[in-house]
Amino acid sequence: MAGWLFVITLVIALVAVYRPFGDYLYRAISGNRDLRGERLIYRLVGVDARAEQTWGVYARSVLAFSAISILFLYLFLRVQDKLWLSLGFSAVPTHIAWNTAVSFVTNTNWQAYSGESTMGHLVQMAGLAVQNFVSAAVGIAVAVALVRGFAARRTATLGNFWVDLTRITLRVLLPACVLITLVFMIAGMVQNLSGGTDVTTLTGATQHITGGPVASQEAIKELGTNGGGFYNVNSAHPFENPTAWTNWLEIFLLLVIPFSLPRVFGRMVGQNRQGYAIVAVMAILAIASVALTVGFELHGAGTVPQAVGAAVEGKEVRFGVPDSATFAAATTLTSTGAVDSFHDSYTALGGMMPIVDMMLGEVAPGGTGSGLYGLLVLAVITVFVAGLMVGRTPEYLGKKIGAREMKLASLYFLVTPTLVLAGTAAAFATGNNRTALNVGPHGLSEVLYAFTSAGNNNGSAFAGITVNTPWWDTALGLVMLLGRFLPIVLVLALAGSLARQRPVPESEGTLPTHQPLFVGMVAGVTVVLVALTFLPALALGPLAEGLS
């Protein structure tokens, strides 16, 4: 009962902030005035804040910023041993540095390393955490550019990437994180530059209590749906998630931006009900997934959970089963990937849910920005089929979905499954699946999980698998890179194509895209497309394990 109340209060809180926070986001992004600090930044960066960019220029700006970020982070990791606060850790090996640089720039935060034994404090805060901010901002910027494409009337431009990046970071993420960090510190998260303290335990042994600027990083880790833990065990670590209520708060934070962005969408296209429709699709899928995950975990099927009496392996006492399962669903429904319990030890079907959540394409509600643009692409595909069924050339918000739009939407929709399935098959074909800790179907799930997580930029793992080998680091790095930037370029191209169109006025003959029927259809299309694509693979993994 307490578990369901936990879920219900989260829903109530998200509903409560949808309008005010969404409106705040809208004003922050779409205003015309620059703050003094922002003007200073534009001057330092050397960009003209008033210059509007075409989709091509916008995309090249995103790619340039991300490429520089990857390069910078890679070098940072490679030379950390020569820098301040390295805690004596050596330079990060090349393949792990590549994997990590890509992982944080793509908002994935897949971790092929163990934080407390690899990364010094400087790299954590000035390297990894900076990307936590800006990769989230990039996602939101791209989503906003797509929405501008829907809202535009025959223009060639989509806004200015540098302005979007700066505003989202300075007006939204940073102020929110300042507030959250304070709360987290009060809750007991550490925030220091200590290399750790050796203490003598009650029994006379020595224990090394680690330190670090954790609270400040934890705030953006959740808010930006990044999920890269300061420590290896992420949000299960008492320093990253000390109490049951910080657990609630972290789940709320990782959901709040993705669930509020549809409001921005509704405001920008001038029809709030369109925002409600999109958030309704997200909510339906999310609530169903949370309910199933919690249900499967509470049911506790499987030999070991039956022997134990509950599915508590890999779960902390202070969180308990339902709250841990809620976190697992929320972190995979968004592209966060932080964990407060270890999915590998979940019941077979309970562990399948996070995989399915990611396979949905990170749209319910998905990552910061990426969730909104992902769902809008799915809505475009739905509009196409539904639009034909009402006897008109399909149109969404007055924009016709023609051959070019379908080409871009279809390619978008192809990218991730291709990466996930090809990657998984390649791991088995090359024998690299043998680094999986578990055998049989569960081992297959570990491999499938890894590529699903990387391809969808989630970053969580069935952590039993050893992935810090050169093959895994290279393969997953490529999958993360392509899984992030191919869709971004396609989305921006789609935005450009939509922006050029003259909107068709709405009439009785127009497919209504704000009514329950359409909401249900988008949800249905999302689930059916996923089920059809991934069911065979799931059958040999979690389904084989869970149905035996």
């Binding site: 307490a2 936990f6 960066v45 050397g46 090249r60 340039a64 910023f65 970020s69 163990s114 407390e116 390297g127 955490a129 900076v130 901010f133 540098w162 970071t169 940073l174 300042v178 304070l182 510190m185 009060i186 998260m189 303290t197 335990t201 009650l202 029994t203 042994a205 224990q207 090394h208 209590i209 680690t210 330190g211 609270a215 400040s216 290896n232 065990v233 299960a236 670590h237 008492p238 049951a244 657990n247 030999t303 070991v304 959970p305 134990v308 009496g309 508590v312 392996e313 890999g314 006492v317 202070r318 969180f319 841990s324 407060d340 319990s341 270890f342 030890s345 800790l437 049989g440 952590a463």
Partner: protein, 270 residues
Amino acid sequence: MRLPMWLSQHVAALRALLVLTVLLGLAYPLAFVAIGKLPGLSGKAGGSLVAHGSTLIGQAFTDSDGNPIPKYFQSRPSAAGKGYDPTATSASNLGPEDVVDTADRKSLLTQVCARSQAIGKLEGVDGSRPYCTAGGVGAVLEVFHRDGLTGPVTRVISVNGPAFMPTYDGVTVESGTGEIPGGVITPIRGDAPAHPVVPSDAVTAGASGLDPDISPAYAELQAPRIARERGISEKSVQELIEKYTVGRALGFMGEPGVNVLELNMALDKG
């Protein structure tokens, strides 16, 4: 000199990254490190340290050989390094059907069974669990059928050690070590009670390997031993348990837990 478009974009990108790194990567976290020095926050920001560790970080109450020290409440099993090692945090990451021991490692099922039995012995209660043998390993048979997965049973092996039942489907169960190809892994439920005496958190590793808490039920189970070992009344132990039990936040968040380090320190204080 005007830079070509593609180059100027990368220069802008580099400048933007540097500006944001200074702001977000240095100014922001360091400001909070400074705030963390303020009285009232410094303890928490420093790691909630107490005389013998951190109240947030669990520790093992075992001797150097890993045996429980009876006068202390015992923590949950830990998968962090050799146990409760904050420099090697980890969960076990073993799946729900990890039931066959190999030469390299014990299966999760056997670990659960072994822990249950050990705790049963330590606390003087019944340590039996479903799918566990009396010997404290996973009760798992490998069953060979004539036609692979179907047909009459031709051979039965107990994969995790000595045969724990005489026959299966009329075929004598052989003792074995590990799985050999060709059979079907079949866990045997046995007749242990559905709700074992030893609580579930006592036989499983947590998520962090640093779980500072145990369930109130596990604390209750240990109370008689603590009272006996320390020569104090069970009631006073119970009172301490209650004192260090943290209920659900706001009545619905998380699960009740007992902070083991604080409890043991309170016991030592007398």
